[in-house]
Amino acid sequence: MTAAAEAPAVADLVAGLPPAPAIWCSGLRKRYGRHQAVDGISLEVQRGDVVGLLGPNGAGKTTVIKMLLGLVRPDAGEAMLLGRPAADPSARSRVGYLPELFRYQPWLNAAEVLALHVRLSGIHVPGRDQRERLALVGLADRAGDRVGGFSKGMQQRLGLAVALVAGPELVVLDEPTSALDPVGRVDVRDIVLALKAQGVAVLLNSHLIGEVERVCDRVVILDRGRVAASGTLAELLGQREVRLHLGDVSPEAEARLAATGAVERAREWFTVALPPDDDGTAVPDLVRDLVALGARVHAVEPARISLEERLLGILRAGDAASNGHGGPR
């Protein structure tokens, strides 16, 4: 076969491949003086996924983000953004970023800041779309005002508009709600969910676990510069449970409870683990059978270990591991 005939075949092959992950990195390391800030982190964010980055202060979350975006030079490791090496600036042409330390030129107005970022991104975005981005973050009325007069919350909203303005395929949000009021937080949550609906990948670093739990498909937990745990919320949080407040529980009823899953009892409260393959029928079936067996059902509460509890558990296990006991990884 000639080289000319081979070329289209290779192109077809490449075109048939699934798109490269939005973020892929392997073995990232960074040391500041004597402090190992990031110690061999590998992670992946698929296109259209919303991934939460969690961990205590100093876990290395912001350093990882900065290494992915070429703002900090890794000591070791590789990173790719949207299929291109992260060290190549063109890899960031479809990436939006809201830094943890959000500051924008105070001598420009909000519309000018957006226009500057559009120009630097090298992507054509009509003025109307730029104004829409400002409206999306609630700054439509302040487009002509100097950024120097903005409150911190307004600057963070502007930063969000900057991150979204140039048609990104990947958005990296580092503590996007740290300066926002409760309404602003809900706005950010809605924006992230809208991005997800549009197939835009999002890497969200946040201390607000509830925020992460509501919007993220997957979570990566960092501790002391390493990945302490990662997975989907279902994988991390494990199986669901149901809590029942019961009276007149006969031995038969107890046997029925045990048949569903592991049971823990605290007086009249029973916590029953649900089967992993539960299709939503286990709880109504159980309640029906308990009533049939003469038990009095006062309350039925679905329960699931919270992400916060799981996070604390992982971090405490990490503490124990660092003391030489070994721990989950």
Partner: protein, 286 residues
């Protein structure tokens, strides 16, 4: 985005910053004051020479000295302006976090730095050339004196500004915004003083002292370029009028034009300092 477009965008942004932060307004104000004061001074000198207390040679000498003195004032304003603008615009943006969102765009850091540098060059050179030209017009109107090589002189002044702002850019990639401005202006002043000391050494035939000036002009070419500018501003007869080559110790007259080798060294110095600045900035963790 292509690097050239990035450079132009960032240069335009830097100029807009200078305008919006009222740096331009402050410089225009200072310049107008200096022009008015020097205009008054020159007109008084013209009045003196009109009453025949000064010969025509003395008039040209006086005009040359005072012109050089006023131009030194402009070069000092340009030095202060660019050095204190370079700090905030580069080190300040890195420190405050403004650079984070900008440098996360698909642009090369070297292109960003080149844009900042170019903006400062346009700003600094624009200032010294326009203010210098205005001053030459003032001298022409009041004393009927026009320097022998005005274009060469203004190019030397602009080159001096470029050297200093390149130094300020280099410093601001490594140290805090305030420190970079202070160190750049401090070195500018120290080199000027070393140049005067070297001139005194030369006029006294003391090689060791004369070497102070030579070495300082090599380490930082601001003073060398300033002497080249003075030589092109002053009347050729001024040196003879003042007392011959022993004038070396006098800070506002220059005995000789710059050599091509020195000008090439100044160009090489700027390129070297820029390369060091780029190397430092590209490696910087933000």
């Amino acid at each position: 985005m292509t690097s050239a477009r990035t450079v132009v965008t960032i240069a335009a942004l830097t100029l807009r910053e200078a305008v919006r932060r009222r740096v331009v307004l402050a410089l225009v104000g200072l310049t107008v004051v200096l022009l008015l004061v020097s205009g008054w001074g020159f007109s008084r000198l013209a009045a003196e020479s009109g009453t025949s207390t000064l010969t025509s040679g003395q008039t040209r000498l006086t005009a040359s000295i005072v012109l050089n003195l006023v131009m030194f004032g402009f070069s000092l304003i340009a030095a202060l302006g660019t050095a204190f603008l370079a700090g905030p615009t580069l080190a300040g943006e890195t420190e405050s976090g403004i650079a984070l969102a900008v440098l996360a765009r698909p642009i090369r850091r070297s292109a960003f730095l080149a844009g900042k540098w170019l903006g400062l060059v346009v700003f600094g050179c624009g200032f010294v050339v326009l203010a210098g030209l205005a001053q030459l017009v003032v001298v022409q109107v009041t004393m009927d004196y026009w320097p022998p090589q005005p274009a060469v002189a203004l190019v030397h002044l602009a080159a001096q500004t470029i050297v200093l702002l390149t130094l300020a850019v280099l410093l601001s990639t490594a140290i805090s915004p305030m420190a970079s401005g202070v160190v750049a202006v401090g070195l500018f002043g120290a080199t000027w003083i070393a140049g005067v000391v070297g001139g005194i050494g030369a006029s006294l035939d003391n090689d060791a002292v004369a070497r102070v000036g030579i070495i300082s002009r090599m380490v930082l070419p601001t003073d060398g370029l300033w002497r080249g500018a003075m030589h092109a501003f002053q009347d050729p007869s001024a040196i003879v009028e003042f007392g011959g080559p022993e004038v070396g110790g006098f800070p506002f007259l220059s005995t000789a034009p710059l050599t091509t080798a020195y000008l090439l060294w100044a160009v090489a110095w700027v390129m070297l300092a820029w390369a060091l600045a780029a190397n430092s900035f590209v490696r910087k963790d933000l």
